[in-house]
Each structure stands twice: as structure tokens, then as C-alpha cells.
């Protein structure tokens, strides 16, 4: 079987001197030197010999396992004007990521091995960090016929998902769960009951009532979450719930996990940082699916991220062309970018106000998502491949469109000042980014 992640080969030498080395999984938190020989962590200690390697000053900074994003839209093939494998993985590197998973809702959809193989070949040539490609659950994401899961898994499909929409019927999802047992790849599910969300532009609640925007109720998500969790329990298969937004969904997930259902889940930086109150500005860069919800939902997501019910931060990085977002709110497409701002946004909005410990955030951005998708977990230990991010927690920077490596600039953070800067990213042994 093909490896899941494909990317540039690297075997860089490096010494990071005197950083606070923080690996939450290993319980490591100490000021140390870290030496990387030919892409692998070779030594941890004090006053290490540089061995002629390049030395990066780490004093006053945090060196952590690099991040893993299980939910990225690279828009390739089909909308290379919005993002390419090169630009999207460059954005990932700038955000501190050492691995990302790309969603299959492209044009054409990644539903056959030839499309998948083509993408993997291109990634080998142009990716800045290793990338895995998810395949669709149904052919054309049309919700009718299952893709050839066995073949696709053998060809390196990272996961199966009809992201962007739910699997049309319970019966089809049941088959998909059963059949996916021939692979070791998880199903990742976008939970939405379309008959409740039709015409929805934002969370259904007081703000939508006041603004007159079509409501996308919490129940539109949680009803589908209940369906997926019931099917996971019934089939005994694992699944991953994408971009959860509502308190009800989190409560259903917690109950199912307590009952032994193998369900994992992710939440996005925007759902963790914002509420629907922000929509009063009618900024099209605040329009996403699922929508920003109420303060109580946001609190439930933060609690779930803290206690591990939600084990992963995922950006749902969704690039859109400038002309597509430079329109009235109602006309704008759903989605925002997030790779280059995820850590800084969460550090600023959750860690600094004391809502989440730094160690927890680092785990949920790295080992957590890797575990959910059966990817190797980045570790700072001797012998491990170097997947490292060097962070300056105190650095304040302003989010500006022209600074993005992404081809798109549809960020909800444009113009705001964040604290926490990625200084260096090492991905699979290669220096992928330096500020």
C-alpha cells in the first residue's frame, strides 16, 4: 500500500539552541538544544555541539511538534486560481504545519485512482509540506454509489469524505461504514440535514432574526450527528466528525464516546474564537458552513477541546477568489482560509485569556489530529523524524492580505493583530518555512 503522506524529500541539518521544548504527549517541557541530523532528531540536551549545523536561536521561544491539519481545501484540480498544491502547502508551512489532508470536493472530484495518483504525483513535485489526499465516499459526491474504496485506499487515499455535504442517506452511510472495514482509513463526515438548512446563511437565532438572514439551525447539524453516531455504534466502525459547531453535537458526541463509540471530531479556529454576533458587520469573510454559532456553543466547543472530546483543531481552510467574496454577504460563497493564522488566532483568543492551556492547544493541533486519521504523530524525541515548529508567543503581528502565501485572502482576521508567530517549520526533516 502506498504511504498516505506525499511531499518533498528532506534531510536537513539544524540545531535549535535554548528553546523551551514542549511536547505535551511526552510530557516534555524544558529549555534544551535540539539537534537534527539529516532530517531526524539526533540529540536533545544542554549545550549540544552544533556539529557544523546551522544554528537557530531559540531563547525565549517555544519549540513544539509541528501541526497537522486534517481539513484543507487545496482547490486542485479545478480552481487553481484559488489555491494550488504549491500555494496551499506553502501556506501550511507558514502556519507551522508539517502535514495536511486535502479534501476531495474538487473538479473533478477525487473519486477514482487516476485522479488521486495525479494529485500525489504533483504533490511530490510541488508540495512544501507532506500532504495526504482524501477521496470521496460516493462517486462525484453525488450520494448515489460508493467509490472503489479498496482501490483508492491502496493508492494512498488518506480518508473518505463527501465534505461540503452530508452523505445523502442513512442507508448509504451504513454501507460505506461497513464496506470501509476493508481499509484502515476513517470516514470523515460533514453533518448537515439539508431540509433544515436550505437557504441558511448563518446560525439561526436572535442575530439571524434581526438581520433577516436565512437561518442554519444547530439542529441542522446535531440531527445528522445523531444519525452518524447511531450508525457508528450499530456498525462498530470508527468515524470522524468534521467542523463541529453546536453544543448539542458536542453533547451527543461525548455521550457516544462514553458508550464506547469510536468517534473522533474536530473544531475550527473560527468556531472556537467567534460567535454569530460578529455577523452584524455583514463581512462576507464571516460566512462559513457550518456557521458561527452562539456564545454557549462556542463555550461548549472550547470545553470539548480542553477535555479531549474534540481531539483536533482543523482549519477547514477554504480559499475563495477575491471577486467571489467581494460581493454582498448573501451572494458570497461559504468558507474562510485559516492555515496561516490558526495558531496565532487560538493563542490570542483562547490561550492568552486563560481558556485553554498552551500544552493542550499544541496537542490538539498536532498529535490529536494525527491520531484521528492514523497518521504518524509528530514527536520531539531522539530518532523521530524532525517535525518541528518554533514559535514566538509574544510576537504581535497584523494580518494583511498581501502577506498570505495562500492564493486567496478570504480571512476573517484581516486587519486584526494577533500574538504568536511561527518562526520556523521543519516538516518531515526539511526546513519548510522560515519567517
Amino acid at each position: 500500500m502506498a504511504p498516505i503522506l506525499v511531499g518533498p524529500p528532506g534531510a536537513d541539518d539544524l540545531l535549535v539552541r535554548g528553546a523551551r521544548v514542549l511536547d505535551p504527549v511526552l510530557g516534555l517541557d524544558a529549555v534544551l538544544d535540539v539537534r537534527v541530523d539529516r532530517g531526524r532528531i539526533a540529540a536533545l540536551g544542554e549545550r549540544l555541539d552544533a556539529n557544523g549545523h546551522r544554528v537557530v536561536e531559540g531563547a525565549g521561544r517555544v519549540l513544539a511538534p509541528a501541526f497537522v491539519d486534517p481539513h484543507v481545501h487545496l482547490r486542485t484540480p479545478g480552481r487553481e486560481d484559488e489555491e494550488t498544491i504549491a500555494s496551499g502547502t506553502a501556506a501550511a508551512a507558514a502556519g507551522g504545519y508539517c502535514a495536511i489532508l486535502a479534501m476531495p470536493n474538487t473538479d473533478p472530484v477525487v473519486d477514482a485512482t487516476d485522479v488521486l495518483r495525479g494529485l500525489r504525483a504533483r504533490a511530490l513535485e510541488e508540495a512544501e509540506v507532506p500532504v495526504g489526499f482524501a477521496a470521496a465516499i460516493t462517486v462525484g459526491q453525488a450520494g448515489q454509489r460508493l467509490v472503489e474504496m479498496g482501490e483508492l485506499a491502496d493508492a494512498g487515499a488518506a480518508a473518505f469524505t463527501d465534505d461540503g455535504k452530508p452523505v445523502a442517506t442513512a442507508g448509504l452511510l451504513r454501507r460505506a461504514l461497513e464496506y470501509s472495514a476493508i481499509t484502515d482509513r476513517p470516514l470523515a463526515l460533514h453533518c448537515e440535514e439539508p431540509s433544515l438548512t436550505r437557504g441558511g446563511q448563518m446560525h439561526m437565532g436572535r442575530v439571524s432574526a434581526e438581520l433577516g438572514l436565512g437561518g442554519w439551525p444547530s439542529l441542522g447539524e446535531s440531527l445528522c450527528v445523531a444519525r452518524e453516531l447511531s450508525l457508528a455504534r450499530d456498525t462498530g466502525r470508527r468515524l470522524h466528525l468534521m467542523h463541529l459547531s453546536a453544543r448539542e453535537s458536542v453533547e451527543l458526541l461525548a455521550a457516544a464516546r462514553a458508550a464506547g463509540v469510536a468517534a473522533t471530531a474536530e473544531a475550527t479556529p473560527h468556531h472556537l474564537c467567534l460567535t454569530d454576533e460578529a455577523l452584524r458587520s455583514l463581512d462576507p469573510n464571516l460566512k462559513m458552513n457550518p456557521p458561527l454559532r452562539g456564545a454557549d456553543d462556542r463555550a461548549a466547543l472550547v470545553d470539548a477541546l480542553r477535555d479531549g472530546t474534540i481531539g483536533a483543531v482543523a482549519t477547514d481552510h477554504a480559499p475563495h477568489a477575491r471577486e467571489e467574496k467581494d460581493v454582498p454577504f448573501e451572494e458570497a460563497p461559504f468558507g474562510v482560509i485559516g492555515l496561516e493564522t490558526a495558531f496565532a488566532a487560538l493563542n490570542t483568543h483562547l490561550v492568552e485569556p486563560g481558556l485553554l492551556r498552551l500544552e493542550t492547544l499544541l496537542e490538539r493541533m498536532s498529535a490529536g489530529p494525527a491520531r484521528s486519521f492514523g497518521l504518524p504523530e509528530p514527536r520531539i524525541e531522539v530518532g523521530a523524524p524532525a517535525n518541528l515548529v518554533l514559535l514566538d508567543l509574544a510576537a504581535a503581528w497584523r494580518v494583511r492580505a498581501e502577506r498570505f502565501r495562500s492564493r486567496s485572502a478570504n480571512s476573517w482576521l484581516l486587519g486584526s493583530t494577533l500574538r504568536g508567530q511561527v518562526l520556523l517549520t521543519v516538516a518531515a526533516g526539511r526546513i519548510a518555512y522560515e519567517a
Binding site: R198, Q201, A209, E210, L211, G212, L282, P284, D326, P328
Partner: protein, 324 residues
Amino acid sequence: MTTLHVVPGDLLPPPPARRHLLSVGDLSRDDVDRLLATARSFARSQERDTKKLPTLRGRLVVNVFFESSTRTSSSFELAAKRLSADTMTLKASGSSVEKGESLKDTALTLSAYDPDVIVIRHPQIGAPHLVARVTDAHVVNAGDGKHQHPTQALLDLYTILSALGRLEGVQVAIVGDVLHSRVARSLVQALRLVGAGVVLVGPPPLLPAELAETRFDIAAIRDADVVYVLRMQRERMEEGASYVPSLREYSARWCVTPERLSPGQKVMHPGPMNRGVEIDPRVADSPASLVVDQVRAGLAVRMAVLYDLLTTGPVLVEAAVGVA
């Protein structure tokens, strides 16, 4: 020649460089009082033989209407003309919009003429906000989707004040499709701002409970000073929508008829009316109806809005228009 005088001691802190009227939420109680007083002065000026005032001579007001409109577009145009501003009205049909030009490009094109005010109506929520972002003009929202129609709310307040002599404590029952109504959204906010009471009456799926007290029984309108009737749109009964089962059932339950009104109540409607659907023609044509007063108020209020946006801070309007 007209001279403007600032009332001593009445200066507010300097307003932002460029003011817009995008939502009733942009207004304070003081703003509303000032605009209604200004409108009153302009209304008096409209009783004279010579109705044109030189106040905004040399200014350019551009009206951009992406949705059909009789009352709003004609009254904005006339308001600008009565204030001696140059006006230009662009409708979506017959313009480059039909060739697929984006709203942003239409706005940029118009802004090349340096308009002082752009008045925009658009079917999509947020369209006026986009125009405000990309041009240097003052922007007036003349209706954006289901969101806001602030000048309608102001003219409704003006009409109520003229008819009842007060706003505070007035009870208004809004009847019909509140969910899809920008008029209702703006009016509820405006009534709150001036201390009036509001109750929403109609079919449950069409009454957002987050906005105000809701009552399903049409009998609830009996306690109101003003019954404000909304237009009932046929598409709400289409397959898949099912907000109400049929027009027949809607009319039977919620049509405002003479029998359902109390003596002395006033009835308003933003137009266009569906006679026999949401409002009985006997009500529409009765002395209780303020519908024509609303239209007349629309001219004075829109003159006041244009004037207010293009002057800074509270100005003694009597001096400006020469009526005391």
C-alpha cells in the same frame, strides 16, 4: 441665499468623516428626533407654491435600484430634486448589470462621477455595505433583501407621530409575514428606539420570536393604537416553503377586516397592497388608513435623510429652509 446656523451648545462630537444610513441600528434616539424634526420642516416647505429648496445645489445623488420599486425610488428622486441636488437613477434592467457586471464594478463606475450620496436597493443582504466599502459616497440603504429598510421605518414613525401626536407608549401590532420583511425588521427596531410597544401577529412560522412578543390570534390587534399590515407574498406558500398552507387560509385567519378592528385604530401598510389578501379593501379605503400619509411622509423624510447626511451635526433646519 441660504445660510446655515449651528445652534449654540447643540454641537455633538464631530461625526465620522462619512456617515451612512444602512440600518436603523446606526441611529440613536437623538438622530431619530433630529431627522423627524427636519422632516417636519421640509414637509412645511412642501406646502408652499415654490417647493424647490436650494439646499443641496451642486450635490449629486445617485439612485441605484436593483429591485422594482414605485414609492421608494420615486420619493428619493423627488426628494433630491426638491433639494436642488442633481440626480441620476440607475435601474438594473437596461444597465451593465444585465451583462453580468458585479455590484462592486457598478459601484466603482458610479463613484467615478463623485456622487455625494448613493441610494441603493438590492435583493441581497449586505449590498449597501459593499457599496459603502468600495466608494467614497454616503450610502443610504433603500432596502437590502430581508434585512433593513431604514427610511421606511423613519417615514412610518413620522406618520404615527403626525397622526397620534406621540410615539412613546404607542402600541403597534405588526400583522403578517414578519420573517421575510425588511420593513418589519427596521420598524421593530425603530419603535423600540422611541419607546413604543410592538406585538407581532400572524402565522407562527412567519413570526421570529426573537424580535418581539408574538401572538397568533388576529384578535390581538384589537389592543393596538396602530395596526401595521405587511404584504403577504405568494411564494411563501410554494411547495417546499409551506410557511402557510394556502392564501385562502391566510386571508380567512389574518386578513385585516373592519370587523377585526377597534374604533379609533389607525391602519398602515408599506405597499404595495394585496387587497383582499392581507387587507380588506374597506379598510384600505377607510379614514383609518394612513397609507397615503405614509407616501407623503416618505418625501419629507427622505429629504431630511439626504440633508442630514450631507450636513455635519444637528443644524437648525428652520434657518436652512426659511420656514420658522
